[in-house]
């Protein structure tokens, strides 16, 4: 199973990947991208099973990436990992087809709680 981590902060990508391993998802292939455009290029090469994506990024932000995927018929499982998670943003994310939204700073428990149901469904 391939998990793609999308965030414009290299340090944050590293922390997300570390948390994935700590949460017990380390056996999956974990790849990274710095924005939505890079993410699209990445999954063109090999489809992802889950995308964990920041909201605010240069070039192409997270919600535009999700909309682009759904417009092109790509139903990849998608979750946001972002510093802002007000009810309005959550609604926008869910309406666009996201499975969950995790706010930074996050915990291992938050990752397990959000990802486990998605990856086992």
């Amino acid at each position: 199973m391939k998990i793609l981590v999308v965030d414009d902060s290299k340090a944050m990508r590293m922390i997300v990947m570390r948390t994935l391993r700590q949460a017990g998802f380390g056996e999956h292939t974990i790849e990274e991208a710095g924005n939505g455009i890079e993410a699209l290029k990445n999954i063109e090469q090999k489809p992802a099973d889950l995308i964990l994506c920041d909201w605010n990024m240069p070039e192409m932000n997270g919600i535009d990436l999700l909309k682009k995927l759904r417009e092109t018929g790509n139903g990849v499982k998608f979750g946001f990992v972002t510093s802002e998670g007000n009810p309005e943003m959550r609604q926008i994310a869910m309406d666009a087809g996201a499975a969950f939204l995790i706010t930074k700073p996050f915990t291992v428990d938050a990752f397990q709680g959000a990802l486990q149901p998605v990856l086992t469904s």
């Binding site: 902060s9 290299k10 340090a11 944050m12 590293m14 922390i15 605010n56 510093s83 802002e84 007000n86 706010t103 930074k104 700073p105 996050f106 915990t107």
Partner: protein, 162 residues
């Protein structure tokens, strides 16, 4: 006049650092208020609901900015001590520290008010517009903190809101 924005409790500040850095962090109110100016070595985070409306400022001295930026990506403490002694952050450490301040935006969230975002992160000494200098000098609320990051060291933070 009371501020329309929240200012966090010391425990909330410590909790964010703790969760983000994955190590024990202690934040205590400082015994003495810091005299922070744009010429103070460190970094400023400028927060507001819009790019042209800054309602809150976080200042971290060089030590706290370096230690938190380094701890975020597990740069060894010994490596960053040189920057602390020199009073200047390396580019990579500053980028990491900016991410810490980006995530800290939630400190200012107040029910019924539009969410604030980190609008700019500025290394200091720097120039700040006069209205931001006024905010530093006469905030509606302020919080002076001494923060210690386990395994790295201690530094100072000032939070102010309009």
């Amino acid at each position: 006049m009371a501020s329309v924005h929240n200012i966090p409790a010391p425990d909330a500040v410590a909790r964010l650092f703790n969760d983000l850095l994955g190590r024990r962090v202690v934040a205590k109110k400082s015994a003495v208020k810091q005299a922070v100016t744009p010429r103070s070595p460190g970094a400023f985070g400028l927060y507001g609901p819009g790019d042209d409306q800054i309602d809150g400022i976080v200042f971290c001295d060089v030590a706290l900015a370096c230690y938190s930026g380094a701890a975020l990506s597990l740069i060894p403490a010994a490596t960053v001590q040189q920057s602390v002694r020199a009073g200047k952050m390396a580019d990579g450490t500053f980028e990491n520290f900016s991410e810490v301040l980006n995530i800290a935006r939630g400190w200012f969230d107040t029910p019924g008010q539009p969410p604030v975002k980190l609008r700019r992160c500025v290394p200091a000494p720097c120039d700040l517009p006069k209205e931001l200098i006024a905010l530093l000098l006469k905030p509606a609320e302020r919080l002076d903190l001494d923060i210690e990051i386990d395994g790295y060291g201690a530094g100072k933070m000032l939070l102010v809101v309009k």
